[in-house]
C-alpha cells in the first residue's frame, strides 16, 4: 500500500494506471447495475474520467 501511495505521489505509471483502470471498471459497473438510476446517469462521467486519465498517465515514467 505504501509503495502504491508513493508511486501516486511521484507520478509513476503503474499505480496511476491501476487507479484509472479501477475508475473505468467502476464506471462500467455503474452503467450496467440494475439498482440505482442515479448511478447509471453518472456512469459515463466516471468512465470518461478513467479513460482520459488512462491516456494521460500511460505517458508517465515507469
Amino acid at each position: 500500500m505504501r509503495a502504491f501511495i508513493s508511486g501516486i505521489l511521484r507520478l509513476r505509471r503503474g499505480p496511476w494506471e491501476m487507479l484509472a483502470s479501477v475508475l473505468i471498471a467502476i464506471g462500467v459497473v455503474m452503467l450496467m447495475q440494475p439498482y440505482a438510476l442515479w448511478a447509471f446517469s453518472w456512469s459515463f462521467i466516471v468512465t470518461l474520467t478513467g479513460t482520459v486519465m488512462f491516456l494521460i498517465v500511460s505517458h508517465f515514467p515507469e
Binding site: 483502470s21 473505468i24 446517469s41 479513460t51
Partner: protein, 315 residues
C-alpha cells in the same frame, strides 16, 4: 550474373525520377510508404469518429438532410443517461455479458484442462471443439433458431429427455423468461472454444519443473492446482475475459438473427437499441451521443485489455 527484379525496376525508372528519389532521406522514404495507410486510417476511422462526436451535440436527422440542424449541447447525453428504457437495455446487456463470461470461463477452462491432459485423439477432439468458433454468427443464429423451434427443434427434445418436461410446452426464443438464456446458450456454445484455446496456451506455458518441485515437496494435486496452475493461467484467463467482454458488449449479429431483440425488448442489447435509434427512428444526433457513450466504455475496457496483454507478454 542473372538480372533480378530490383535491377529491372531500377533500369525502368526514368533518370529524372531516379535523381529525385536519390536525394530523399531514409526517413522521407519511410513516410512516403506509410502515408497512404495514415491517410486511409484518418479517412475511415478518425474522421467518422470526430464527425460522430460533432453530431452528438446536434439534433441532426439523417432522413432529413436538408432540415436545419440545431446545436443542442449536452441535451442528447442527458436524455440518454436518464432514460429508463436505455437503462433496461444496459441491464439486458449486463445479464448477457455476465452469464456468457461466467459459462465460457468455467467450461473453457475445464475443456482446456481436459485437452491438456494429452489423451489419445486429443488433437481430433480439439478440432471438433473449435468448430463452432469458425462459423459465421449469422449462420449460427439461423440454425439455432431451428434448434429452438418447439415443434421440430432438437433442443426442446433434448431438454425434455433429461427433465421429463413436455417438449412443445416451452419456446426458448418466444418467452420473456427464457429468451435471455437462449442467447446466452448460443454465445456460450460458439465462443467457449476461444476461451479454451487461450487457457490451453496458458496451461502449456507452465514449466513442468514447477510441478516436479511441488511433487518433491509433497504438495497434493489440489494444492498444486490452486498455488501453481490458477495463478499462472490467471493473466491468460483475464485476457480472455476482457476480450470476450468487449466483443459481447458490442454483440449484434447473433442476437438479431436469433431473437431480433424480442420478445418485447427482453433481449434488446445496446447495439440493437442503437441501430433502432439510428436507422429506424432516424434520431441521428441522439444515436451519435449513444454511440459515443458506448465507444468511451469500450475504449476504456480496451485500455485495460492492452495493459493486461502487455503483462502477459512480459511473462
Amino acid at each position: 550474373m542473372p538480372e533480378t527484379a530490383m535491377d529491372s525496376v531500377a533500369r525502368a525508372t526514368p533518370p529524372r525520377v531516379a535523381r529525385r528519389i536519390r536525394g530523399l532521406s531514409d526517413r522521407m522514404i519511410a513516410w512516403i510508404f506509410v502515408a497512404p495507410t495514415i491517410f486511409l486510417l484518418l479517412a475511415i476511422n478518425i474522421f467518422p469518429l470526430i464527425w460522430t462526436i460533432r453530431l452528438s451535440f446536434t439534433n441532426f436527422r439523417a432522413n432529413r438532410p436538408n432540415a436545419e440542424t440545431a446545436w443542442v449541447g449536452l441535451r442528447n447525453y442527458e436524455r440518454i443517461l436518464s432514460d429508463p428504457d436505455i437503462w433496461q437495455t444496459m441491464q439486458a446487456t449486463a445479464h448477457f455479458l455476465f452469464w456468457t463470461l461466467f459459462f465460457q470461463v468455467l467450461i473453457g477452462f475445464a475443456l482446456a484442462w481436459l485437452i491438456n491432459a494429452k489423451f489419445r485423439g486429443s488433437n481430433f477432439w480439439t478440432t471438433i471443439i473449435v468448430l463452432p468458433m469458425m462459423l459465421s454468427p449469422a449462420v449460427v443464429g439461423n440454425f439455432w433458431t431451428f434448434l429452438y423451434q418447439p415443434q421440430i427443434g432438437l433442443f426442446n427434445y433434448v431438454v425434455a429427455f433429461f427433465s421429463g418436461a413436455d417438449p412443445t410446452g416451452f419456446t426458448m426464443i418466444g418467452e420473456v423468461a427464457l429468451a435471455p438464456w437462449a442467447i446466452v446458450i448460443v454465445d456460450t456454445w460458439m465462443w467457449t472454444p476461444f476461451v479454451m484455446l487461450i487457457c490451453l496456451a496458458g496451461l502449456r506455458s507452465i514449466p513442468e519443473s514447477i510441478y516436479e518441485a511441488a511433487e518433491c515437496d509433497r504438495a497434493s494435486k489440489w494444492r498444486q492446482f490452486w498455488t501453481i496452475t490458477v495463478p499462472m493461467v490467471l493473466p491468460f484467463l483475464m485476457l480472455a475475459v476482457l476480450f470476450r467482454g468487449i466483443e459481447n458488449f458490442k454483440m449484434f449479429d447473433l442476437v438479431v438473427q436469433l431473437t431480433g431483440g424480442g420478445p418485447g425488448s427482453t433481449t434488446e442489447l445496446t447495439s440493437i437499441n442503437l441501430k433502432r435509434e439510428a436507422f429506424e427512428k432516424w434520431r441521428t444526433g441522439y444515436a451519435s451521443a449513444y454511440a459515443v457513450i458506448l465507444f468511451v466504455t469500450v475504449f476504456g475496457l480496451a485500455s485495460i485489455y492492452v495493459k493486461a496483454l502487455n503483462k502477459v507478454k512480459e511473462r
